[in-house]
Subunit: 337 residues, 2 copies
DNA sequence: CACGAATGTGCACACGTGTTCACATAGACT
DNA sequence: AGTCTATGTGAACACGTGTGCACATTCGTG
């Protein structure tokens, strides 16, 4: 664990013993007065409550957790996130966890850039850990299994008896998008992918390639887009500069599609009459009026609620078999197809 | 604290004593072998390391913290967030905290909607708490003072000896934007505000109103925009429908400005020749090529680094006087003014 | 041989909390 | 008077960890 420094001693936090001393009772009385249970004389209870307020006493959650109480801590392993939709997802997941009375411990970045590691997070007695597909490893599943920490993976399905998962069928999503454009008579397909090696991007590409194969077609243009608007803009510019006459552009995510729309409009290529554009995720930006992007749905709310449900189920029945929830994506028809 | 349910007993987490039993040594030896310090026979050290790996042992951070070690937990109180820029800010703040070896505990939502409260978070022995201006209360500052938890407020300055703050001069930002447009000869000003009662929106409005006053002008149109793209779009539509001939539109944030741009373009109002539009925050969307929004800078990176700096300083010197860092916003000239 | 330093070990303590339970007192009932 | 129940209290325990320190052994030096 990085970040350990020689800090000066910080004034001591108020303890139950201090309250007991001020109120002239035992620490046991303080606990009974503030939490209920057992009996406490009414007058003494008042004194205790007053002393606690005066000192600003707040029970130490860590000490209480040692007693076997649930910590309500849930690690959210977000990994390397590069666009607004994905960072918004993490935020909404935190919101959902808060609603359920959990405390999300957010872990970002890649191993090399971070001052902390996922493994370090396992030092906390987590009630659960939610890991984004791209940050999931078999070693991590193994460790959580040994520590009896319920694990939920999102954005990827995994074959492991120790972890639940929720993901959308990425390949099925791009299959539907491709089929829609084939049905419109489109013939020259382009694809803007995400960053190299990103799982979801690879799967979305696979769905496109396989569907084109089955139609006896092949991809006419391909360029990585970094999952960002800028990346999508640049990739679309490269596509335009390549001279290929693309009539159907499928993007690995909405940010890329939005960037591509920007580039196409600045070159006076009319969407959708000259070129269809479809994104993926139904990010918030996709529905902004100036984009009205046709996209493959992968709705944040549904994913979050499913994750919360899986956590609750796992806590309720720890030995329950692992479950993978697959969300079959639907195309949301707007104006760019 | 909501969320307590009668959960079945979860299998016990691996403890140092279990490792000691398996390796045939004392618990003290386990601690020395895994952490360094003291002395351990080399052969026994190997046995201990092996036993720990076999059992999947991970020290319990909470128990260790009770020893007086720093928890490295930092509460991030985000409150009610409605747009991508603000949720992205929270995410980037978490990234920054992770880089410094901290664990961000994210607290979202309003009191009524949430299963947890900020006060509940104070049960954790936090190393610091970072609170968004809109969620800041004097009572909270008081509580943290009593618990000796360093507090940093962002997005608002506060006059309290117990908390540090970082904020940009909202009013100065809209002052500069207004002056810029006055200097271009604009006369008919409109304003799209944020949600009712939001601090930053009120201050940004104030800067605009005061500057117009000093120029002997007044606001010609005003509409709340909810801090979202949709809200900005609707407000701009209302402005167009009002029949007022606005030539200068200032928006309380970039999302509102982007929504307004969309509405103006769909009515063939050319920006900036017919109407200047200026946003606030320099959100990521502002620099997307299809917007190229002129905006008042309030950069995420600088705010995050300043917050991290304030935390570090407070930890290094707990008795240091409270400090407020004010970021004087500059206008970032792009294409909409 | 005596002394000091280095290596090694495990017991016991502290951290802050919730809870059990032995003990004390008072009141009600037979 | 004896028994049972309700109210009330604080000592002691456990939770899991890091660490101080008493004790033991070995090695090196004068």
């Amino acid at each position: 664990m990085a970040g350990n420094s020689d800090s000066p001693v910080r004034p001591k936090r108020v303890t139950a013993q201090m309250v007991a001393d001020l109120a002239g009772v035992s620490r046991s009385a303080v606990s009974r007065a503030l939490n209920g249970g057992g009996y406490v004389d009414a007058q003494k209870r008042e004194q205790i409550v007053k002393a606690a307020a005066e000192l600003g006493y707040q029970p130490n959650a860590l000490a209480a957790t040692l007693q076997g109480g649930a910590s309500r801590l849930v690690a959210v392993v977000a990994g390397d996130i590069r666009n607004l939709h994905d960072s918004n997802f993490v935020f909404r997941l935190c919101e959902g966890l808060n609603r359920q009375g959990f405390w999300p411990l957010v872990i970002t970045g890649t191993q090399t850039a971070s001052g902390i590691t996922v493994e370090d997070a396992l030092r906390f007695p987590l009630d659960a850990i939610v890991v984004r597909g791209g940050s999931m490893t078999e070693a991590l599943v193994d460790r959580c299994g040994k520590l009896n920490i319920p694990m939920i993976c999102y954005g990827r399905s995994i074959e492991n008896a120790k972890a639940d998962a929720v993901c959308c069928e990425n390949a099925a999503g791009t299959r539907k998008a491709t089929e829609l454009l084939l049905a419109k008579g489109r013939k020259k397909f382009g694809f803007i992918s995400g960053p190299q090696g990103f799982f979801s991007s690879d799967q979305r590409r696979r769905g496109l390639i396989e569907t084109l194969d089955q139609a006896g077609l092949s991809l006419s243009f391909e360029h990585p887009g970094d999952f960002t608007v800028d990346g999508g803009f640049a990739a679309a510019q490269a596509m335009i500069a390549s001279g290929e006459t693309i009539d159907a552009l499928i993007c690995a995510n909405d940010a890329s599609a939005i960037g591509a729309l920007g580039a196409l409009r600045s070159c006076n290529i009319d969407v959708p009459s000259q070129m269809s554009v479809i994104g993926f995720d139904d990010a918030e930006m996709a529905r902004w009026p100036m984009f009205a992007l046709t996209t493959v749905q992968n709705p944040i709310d549904l994913m979050v609620e499913t994750i919360l449900d899986l956590i609750q189920r796992r806590i309720t029945a720890p030995e329950r078999p692992a479950k993978t929830v697959t969300v079959m994506p639907e195309i949301l028809l707007r104006e760019t197809h």
